[in-house]
Symmetry: C2
Subunit: 205 residues, 2 copies
DNA sequence: GACGCATCTATACTTTAGTATAGGTGACTA
DNA sequence: TAGTCACCTATACTAAAGTATAGATGCGTC
């Protein structure tokens, strides 16, 4: 029987998904409320086949949590689950070694399929996700942004300074200023705070 | 058998909660992905006992969706469900006539209790919710702010400059800077963007 | 009355943000 | 091949943000 560890900070979401998986399929589902608890639990067990991590959860810190989990348990398959993330996040996650990406917009039946898929050693990422809002709205204002500008905007959404962004993206501060200025113009806002608020409002990051 | 209509835009969350409720208790659970679909569905049926609305869902627009639902179906009980809302939102919801408030941090067992409670004609709101992050931080950080600092923060959340804030509050720009500096310290953040993002995350404005 | 506190203002300063202009590279394309 | 575009860097500047210190007012409390 496959052992699955589901980590999500919303008790209701976590428990019901766990209960669902255990009833409809022959899974043994353990749960945790944050990343640290999940990793701690795994250290005591060492027999988890699949770890499912909520993208927005204490301890995750973006994709850093994914990296930590993979480093601590290289043999275990890791899937990321999110209710808000867009295709970029999904791609980044897969790029950083995730075995699957599960948007919460998935149907329950598809979730089971996805899990089976990953357990069998395949990578899973739905290609039709984000049809509703995520992608549509992203199309409007944000489609004008270049790759670098998007990355810059992402950093703005954590409230970082130009200097910090420059360090993170490994470019000069002047360049960051250029990207910021250009994205402000493209988004039609007058400062970084408005840009961050706009992106947050559209659920981009 | 009580008929419940569960409206949430996350298929996964919605379907698993629905499945859970149907297996553990004698509920008949219908589902919808947004407010309009939910109301449309009810128009054709007119026998729903309890409508559960996700607070963050297309068509909700804050508590306006709650008002719309109650206006359209005065006889039906309505509960609000949210993964992020704080006590203030919960109180407002109850104030505007909601029959229950269900944080997603609730356990699955408590959810069933809550539903039974509401179906029996009682109002349900957990008094211990937000023990984890929501309330602790919301009460903690923002209660330290003075009236003026809160007003300043509100303006920050629209992305205004110090000069604009000064004009709106009818004080000098230096004073605004003082308020900003103080509230940054109190909130433990390092610039206005982070302050705005924090306040937005806590749904203060 | 003395004290604390929120409020406002002032001066003076450093740092960060944002604008402007110019130039270099590589990739892709008409 | 010439042109376009994303990208990066540089210099130089203005404007805005943030820090520090000091002093004034009013309000409520001990």
């Amino acid at each position: 029987m496959p052992n699955i560890l589901l980590a999500d900070d919303h008790d209701l979401v976590r428990d019901t998904i766990a209960a669902y998986l255990e009833t409809v399929e022959d899974f043994n589902v353990l749960t945790a409320a944050n990343l640290n608890d999940a990793l701690e639990l795994m250290r005591g067990l060492d027999l988890i086949d699949l770890l499912i991590l909520d993208y927005n959860m204490p301890g995750m810190n973006g994709l850093e949590g994914l990296t930590r989990a993979r480093a601590a348990f290289p043999a275990c398959k890791v899937a990321l689950m999110s209710g808000v993330a867009n295709r970029d996040v999904a791609n980044s996650a897969m790029g950083q070694g995730a075995d699957g990406f599960i948007p919460k917009s998935l149907t329950a039946a598809s979730l089971v399929n996805a899990i089976k898929f990953v357990l069998s050693g395949e990578k899973y990422m739905p290609f039709d996700f984000g049809t509703a809002r995520t992608e549509a709205k992203a199309g409007g204002e944000f489609s004008k942004l270049s790759a670098r500008e998007l990355q810059t905007l992402e950093q703005l959404c954590i409230g970082l300074s130009n200097k910090e962004i420059a360090r993170n993206l490994d470019i000069q501060e002047v360049t960051v200023k250029l990207h910021v200025k250009n994205l402000l113009t493209k988004l039609g806002v007058s400062n970084r705070t408005q840009a961050a608020l706009l992106a947050k409002e559209r659920h981009l990051f």
